[in-house]
């Protein structure tokens, strides 16, 4: 290789390497801000600030959804299967909101540990299948749990 070209190649690769390191360090330092939400474990550990707008994300606990009879208000628990946080929300929930599904709730964490949400988003998972397949899977798992 021509020495001049070799030198230019090395310079180009060094530029890419140094910018990777720089951006890597920046994103590492900002990882708390890049995370879209706090997990219930982080909330339980006191890492989430109180009385400031935060997001909490996790699975809606099966059987935890309670709806008020006279208002839109809904209460449910969000879990990461280690800890859970109670969320209250007075508004219209997205169509894909359901027990056992992922959610991200934006709101304020009160001193009592309850998040008063101003927005609830459904977090869709990566599973895509036709209804018949989902039904078959459900039947198979039901049969499995009966045995």
């Amino acid at each position: 290789m021509h020495p001049k070209r070799k030198q230019r190649l090395i310079v180009a690769l060094v530029i890419v390497f140094l910018s990777s390191v720089t951006i890597g360090l920046i994103t590492y330092a900002l990882r708390g801000n890049i995370n879209l939400f706090y997990s219930p474990s982080e909330v339980a550990a006191g890492e989430a600030p109180i009385d400031r707008q935060i997001r909490v994300g996790g699975m809606v606990v099966e059987g935890s959804v309670r709806r008020a009879s006279d208002r839109l208000e809904t209460r449910f628990d969000v879990t990461d299967f280690v800890h859970s946080v109670t969320v209250t929300y007075d508004g219209i929930l997205p169509d894909l909101f359901a027990e056992g599904e992922g959610v991200v709730a934006t709101g304020k964490l009160g001193p009592n540990g309850v998040v008063t949400a101003s927005e609830v988003l459904a977090k869709h998972d990566e599973n895509y299948m036709p209804p018949e397949v989902a039904e078959a899977l459900e039947k198979a798992s039901a049969r499995g749990s009966m045995q």
């Binding site: 180009a12 530029i15 994103t27 879209l36 994300g57 991200v104 459904a122 895509y128 036709p130």
Partner: protein, 244 residues
């Protein structure tokens, strides 16, 4: 081996190559686009949870995949232009930028349209969506930077450096859903192990991804031909070719 690589640096050879490939690549791509869309939008089964709104995947995912791959095409052309000073590499780098920007815009817009019924929001500043927006700005930045210089040799060098630095963003986009908590779900298609998407939905998706790659190649060649026609308007080889 070296001769083949050297041919790709020769404008008359590349021009002839494009002229040879385009007449059959264009009809194949159009048929595949139509066929893939009909397969995905009409014949693939509905999703058990999202119903029909998931069908935007057949545009969204192929556009996003090729937007990332296209960036490497642009950056690689930038590297060749920077190190070996091949003029054609400049042209290739500039040809890739607007196509990549369009693919990224399609991915962002279809994502927003899908996000509203699925998540309940058009836009969320999570790691995947934000890094994808940065990719869009990088593509647009390369276009703008090239136009900002009077001296086109300097412009090409600046663009090459910008596109090389921008490659850092590609693995970030790809891994963002695994590295950080995000609203966007992780990848459904897995290179190792079984995919999280049913085969009846996966095959039309893979077909559309391949088609979007073919479309990228086609647009790239059309763009290259256009640029070469402008750059070499006074050259004997081009005039002879156009007269024939």
């Amino acid at each position: 081996m070296w001769r083949i690589i050297h041919q790709f640096g020769s404008p008359p050879w590349v021009y002839r190559f494009c002229d040879k490939v385009i007449p059959w690549l264009m009809p194949i791509t159009i048929v595949a686009l139509l066929g893939g869309s009909v397969w995905g939008l009409l014949f693939a089964p509905t999703d058990y949870k999202q119903g029909d709104s998931y069908r935007i995947i057949y545009i969204h995912v192929p556009a996003a995949v090729v937007a990332l791959a296209g960036y490497y095409v642009m950056a690689l052309a930038g590297l060749v232009s920077l190190v070996w000073r091949v003029k054609l590499a400049d042209t290739a780098m500039r040809a890739a930028a607007p196509i990549g920007a369009a693919y990224t815009a399609i991915a962002l817009i279809t994502g927003a349209i899908w996000g509203k019924p699925t998540w309940g929001a058009w836009w969320v500043w999570d790691a995947r969506i934000t890094s994808m927006l940065i990719l869009f700005f990088l593509y647009v930045g390369v276009i703008a930077l090239f136009e900002a210089y009077e001296n086109k040799t300097v412009a090409a060098r600046a663009c090459a450096i910008l596109s090389l630095v921008g490659t850092v963003n590609i693995p970030i986009i790809y891994k963002s859903v695994d590295w950080w908590y995000s609203l966007h779900q992780p990848a459904s298609i897995k290179f190792t192990g079984s995919s999280a998407i049913d085969a009846s939905m996966l095959y039309p998706l893979l077909g559309m991804i391949i088609t979007f790659y073919a479309l990228f190649a086609l647009l790239m060649m059309l763009n290259l031909k256009q640029s070469l026609t402008e750059e070499y308007a006074q050259s004997a080889w081009l005039n002879k070719r156009l007269a024939a």
